[in-house]
Symmetry: C2
Subunit: 198 residues, 2 copies
DNA sequence: TGTACATCAGTGAACGCGCGTTCACTGATGTAC
DNA sequence: TGTACATCAGTGAACGCGCGTTCACTGATGTAC
């Protein structure tokens, strides 16, 4: 027996992964140092290697965990077309645009993942596959045959539009991109475009 | 008079920008060193600061130049719906997926730009605006009113699909993403989806 | 015509800095006997 | 009950390395007079 609660180490690891997720999505993987992540988790840099073998290991954990959480979020939506449309509106909202640290891991980490080592890419591929599945099953039943390509197309549109909106510093331009993305997504989902202002 | 041709320095600068564009798109801005870029341009690291004030200045030049070149490429297409569809097929091709160094700057640099200093973001915003314009004017005339949002939605879809395809190491998955992107783009352009294999 | 100097693109070593990683140590708690 | 030892999460200084940037210098060419 140790002086620590049985789940103490696991809980610390979770704090590190959560802190890293925020930093990586905000500043990029190369722009985030181990020491900063550990400070956010309330620890010092040296403790890192009691939890992870390397920064790459941490990135793999971040990718797996964040994509799984996103999958669970989508899976917990009511199984209606309206719920999926609501998800799209939240995704392409100003709030999401302005808070990458708390947002979609694909939108914030996709290029870092592309350039990363194989285990990280494998973790991403597995996580994305699960998200494609859960989105595809939520599309209109009549579209069952085309559900998968539709889900992939929708995700590509969402990720691209959010990244473009984030790259444009001018609020009017960024809003235009979010709005255009919502309109196209609505077309893709087979709904008449109803486009709220923000 | 100097011993150099009048355009010598300008030509050297262009070589540096071209080399940086390839490195930045391949390895990311943080993953590319000045010394490597200069070596690609046939020079040593010290000469860099005779051409640019900082790495950020170089990035701004890369962004401006690459987006302008992309705009010119699109502008030089015949003004027909078929030509735009052909551009989409080239964009979402295996060749483009597998050669980021020679490809779309938005797909490869968007997240670096988002996190970069204001002058770089401004250069990107101006370059993207020009591309949106030239794409919008090439959409079907009947859609004139909705041309701009359509152009923005198309670009978001292209960028997102290409990035996703690049992040998936499995060839079958990556191909699926490219195919889904082409189908959705065809729907967006108002053409029946004709989907070649690759 | 000859000599001293100006120009200027480029060289290559050096700088300080931040990073990922290592490691000897700490301190609180438990176990052996 | 008391003493020596084991465990283990965490500390914080140190390491080597690569980076962006600086700078004294080179060498080929032109100009001054």
């Amino acid at each position: 027996m140790s002086r620590y609660a049985p789940d103490h180490k696991q809980a610390t690891r979770e704090r590190i992964v959560a802190a890293a997720g925020r930093r990586f999505k905000n500043s990029g993987v190369d722009g985030s140092g181990i020491a900063g992540v550990m400070a956010d988790a309330g620890l010092t840099n040296g403790a890192f290697y009691a939890h992870f073998g390397s920064k790459d290991d941490l990135l793999a954990a971040v990718v797996s965990e964040q994509l799984a959480a996103q999958r669970d979020t989508i899976a917990s939506l009511p199984d209606t077309p309206e719920a999926l449309a609501g998800f799209v509106d939240d995704y392409l909202s100003r709030a999401h645009r302005d808070a990458p640290a708390d947002g979609c891991p694909s939108a914030a980490l996709l290029l870092d993942v592309s350039r990363a080592a194989e285990p990280i890419r494998a973790a991403y591929a597995a996580g994305l596959e699960a998200i494609i599945d859960v989105v595809a099953t939520r599309l209109d039943p009549p579209d069952a045959a085309a559900a998968r390509p539709k889900a992939v197309g929708l995700l590509a549109l969402l990720v691209g539009a959010l990244q473009l909106a984030r790259a444009l510093r001018d609020e009017a331009n960024a809003d235009e991109v979010l709005r255009a993305g919502r309109v196209q997504a609505a077309v893709l989902l087979g709904h008449p475009a109803d486009t709220p202002g923000g």
